[in-house]
């Protein structure tokens, strides 16, 4: 019998026993829902990490030191790194206003900055997901300590969505909305902004992508509008009063194999400059990605286990139904054998019927799973569904129903036609 005929026969039977069919594929549906949910979250995690790895640069090494590097030291260090490396120095995000510590705000017709980070032009070599309006900080700014700033601007839709949905506990509603409202209605480029009673000019706007399109890992993102100043200007703004200020040193070699060499160069340079007691902690970005990946996998293992249990339960359900079906249709098997059906035809007939049930379960399960993703997942804006999750779910359902229907179908195929025909 050809596949379309087998499917038509199977579908007729499933439709004729709707309730029984529904019950038997229900467990499969729950299993598939779990798989679908897990696979969706997992695939999202993988994709996000993949995208993050792509824009974060290969062979990326990070460390920090409490000794601010001068521009001369910067150039020395760059010379010791593998050729073609990008070296970037980033200061910590200094809080200016204690009471408005987490944001910029608009006060008495004056833009007042809250957090500011000092950077070098090479900062934009990696993780640059922004759309730049105006210009970026350049070497001229750094060398001449220009009072210029680049400001991140959040996309408008995100503000709207965030208002409607959950709000992080730290988000200062008034401050954010004030600035966001302000940036929605005013053009911030070339405006003056006050930091520590000093006036800066905004020369560039870094338009953030929507959260969905932000390829960076969550811990690399800004959650508040941030001002970026020239590295040297930043030190002028915050004269050294304590030793706790940290400078992040970021090297991107362009090749993963050069990461260790760069790390060695970094350590020996820091020791040569700041003494033998300097013990910088080197972070390899690739390792961090792997750690993150392992974390994603680990948290989903339990879920997957539940899914497997549900699938086994579903498989047993399919097996039970197939056995009952074969018992009640023994006579039919006899008739079909008399009319010329081979053992293989009978075997395939019941396998196809069980697999159709599994397919129904998969479809129902994916709908359930999709709803679960929408309601349970922490960050639904990050959720997209890849085709392989859908295909994977269907394959899992088909394979499960195939495996569990194999034994009953084989029993049916083994029946002698004359014995089957006698059955009433």
């Amino acid at each position: 019998m050809k596949l379309p005929d087998l499917m038509a026969t199977g579908w007729t039977e499933i439709w004729a026993h709707k309730m029984r069919s529904f019950l038997s594929f229900f467990a499969i549906a729950i299993g598939i829902a779990t798989f679908f949910y897990t696979l969706s979250v997992l695939s999202q995690g993988y994709r996000r990490i993949g995208r993050a790895a792509k824009i974060s640069g290969e062979g990326r090494v990070e460390t920090s030191t409490n000794h601010p590097l001068t521009l001369v030291q910067y150039k020395d260090l760059l010379g010791q790194l593998p050729e073609g490396s990008s070296l970037s120095l980033v200061t910590d995000d200094r809080i200016v206003h204690r009471e408005w510590w987490n944001t910029l705000y608009h006060q008495q017709n004056q833009l007042v900055g809250a957090a500011a980070i000092g950077i070098l032009p090479s900062w934009r070599d990696v993780d640059f997901v922004y759309r730049l309006e105006g210009r970026f900080i350049n070497w001229n700014d750094v060398e001449n300590k220009h009072r210029v700033a680049v400001l991140t601007v959040f996309p408008r839709e995100q503000a709207v969505r965030k208002k409607a949905k959950r709000r992080p506990w730290w988000e200062d509603e008034e401050g954010i909305s004030t600035l966001r409202d302000y940036s929605d209605h005013h053009h911030l480029l070339h405006q003056q902004i006050v930091l520590n009673d000093q006036t800066f000019t905004i020369v560039g706007l870094l338009h953030l992508p929507t959260e969905n399109n932000d390829a960076r890992l969550p811990n690399q993102r800004e959650w508040v509008p941030t001002l970026y100043l020239p590295y040297t200007t930043w030190y002028d703004l915050y004269p050294s009063e304590d030793d706790t200020r940290e400078v992040k040193i970021r090297v991107v070699t362009g090749r993963e194999s050069l990461a260790r060499t760069a790390a060695k160069g970094l350590v020996s340079f820091l020791r040569s400059q700041f003494g033998i007691n300097e013990k910088p902690t080197i972070e390899f970005f690739y390792d961090k990605l792997q750690e993150r990946l392992a974390h994603v996998r680990k948290s989903l293992n339990d879920m997957l286990f539940m899914g497997i249990i549900a699938m086994v339960a579903g498989g047993i359900g399919i097996m039970n139904v197939t056995m009952a079906v074969i018992f009640s249709r023994t006579k039919e098997i006899g008739i079909r054998r008399a009319l010329g059906a081979s053992r293989r035809d009978i075997l395939f007939q019941f396998l196809v019927e069980a697999m159709l049930l599994g397919l129904c379960g998969a479809v129902a399960g994916m709908i359930l799973g999709y709803m679960a993703v929408l309601h349970l997942a922490e960050d639904t804006s990050q959720m997209t569904f890849s085709w392989w999750v859908v295909v994977g779910s269907i394959i899992i359902a088909l394979v499960t129903s195939f495996l569990f229907a194999l034994y009953p179908a084989w029993q049916a195929a083994k029946l002698k036609p004359v014995d089957a025909l006698k059955n009433e």
């Binding site: 005929d5 008739i335 008399a338 009319l339 010329g340 059906a341 081979s342 053992r343 002698k416 025909l421």
Partner: protein, 220 residues
């Protein structure tokens, strides 16, 4: 030409204390014959018919169908032979209750290599031949017993078999329908079909060329 030939067929059911359902039965069916088998219940007529139809295997003896010995055949070979050479008509019709008349007639062709496009036209042709052109899309539940048996006859013809085996085809029918079905079988026989029919009814048997009487597993 000989269509089917049995030599000393023996069938022993070991479960029932070596009950000999067939005891050295020899029989030859010529092409174009219309043979009836009569006998009391349990005399072995159905067993003989099942062996002729390759649904059951004999415990001993030889059976040749269309000149081919069947003793050493695998299940698949027997199935293939049955599919193409034999058409069955059962007492209780044995139609698929969920399939339409047309699909029921088409069913044996679904198990052959016949192209899908040719199956339904052929089934329609057969339905017309047995006079059911008005009932093509009805299910068996909407048909009378006589009509059901007509569907079964058409289905038996589907793969153009060499031999039609009918197991009490009129057993569940009233006398009018019985005469009707006998008429149809005679008509098929006249068009060249070889038919072997088991029956209890002497009147029906009298409408065939030859009647074989059986008793206790033997032909008498």
């Amino acid at each position: 030409m000989v269509i089917a030939q049995c030599k000393k067929l023996v069938k022993i059911y070991s479960a029932a204390q070596d009950f000999r359902a067939l005891d050295e039965v020899s029989l030859t069916i010529e092409q174009g014959e219309f043979v009836s088998i009569m006998g009391a219940s349990g005399c072995g007529k159905s067993t003989l018919l099942n062996i002729l139809g390759l649904l059951d295997e004999p415990s001993g003896g030889e059976y040749e169908l269309g000149g081919v010995a069947t003793a050493q055949m695998t299940d698949f070979e027997r199935t293939r032979l049955r599919r193409h050479q034999i058409g069955f008509i059962f007492q209780s019709f044995n139609l698929m209750p969920r399939l339409s008349v047309l699909e029921n007639i088409a069913l044996p062709m679904r198990y052959t290599d016949k192209p899908r496009a040719e199956i339904l036209p052929r089934a329609r042709e057969l339905a017309v031949r047995v006079g059911l052109e008005q009932k093509l899309y009805n299910t068996p539940l909407q048909l009378s017993g006589g009509q059901c048996q007509r569907v079964a006859c058409a289905r038996a013809l589907a793969n153009n078999p060499a031999l039609i085996l009918a197991d009490e085809p009129t057993g569940n029918l009233d006398s009018t329908s019985s005469a009707d079905i006998l008429g149809l079988l005679q008509e098929l026989n006249q068009s060249g079909m070889t038919i072997v029919m088991v029956t209890h009814d002497p009147k029906i048997a009298s409408g065939t060329h030859r009647t074989i009487h059986m008793k206790d597993g033997k032909i008498i």
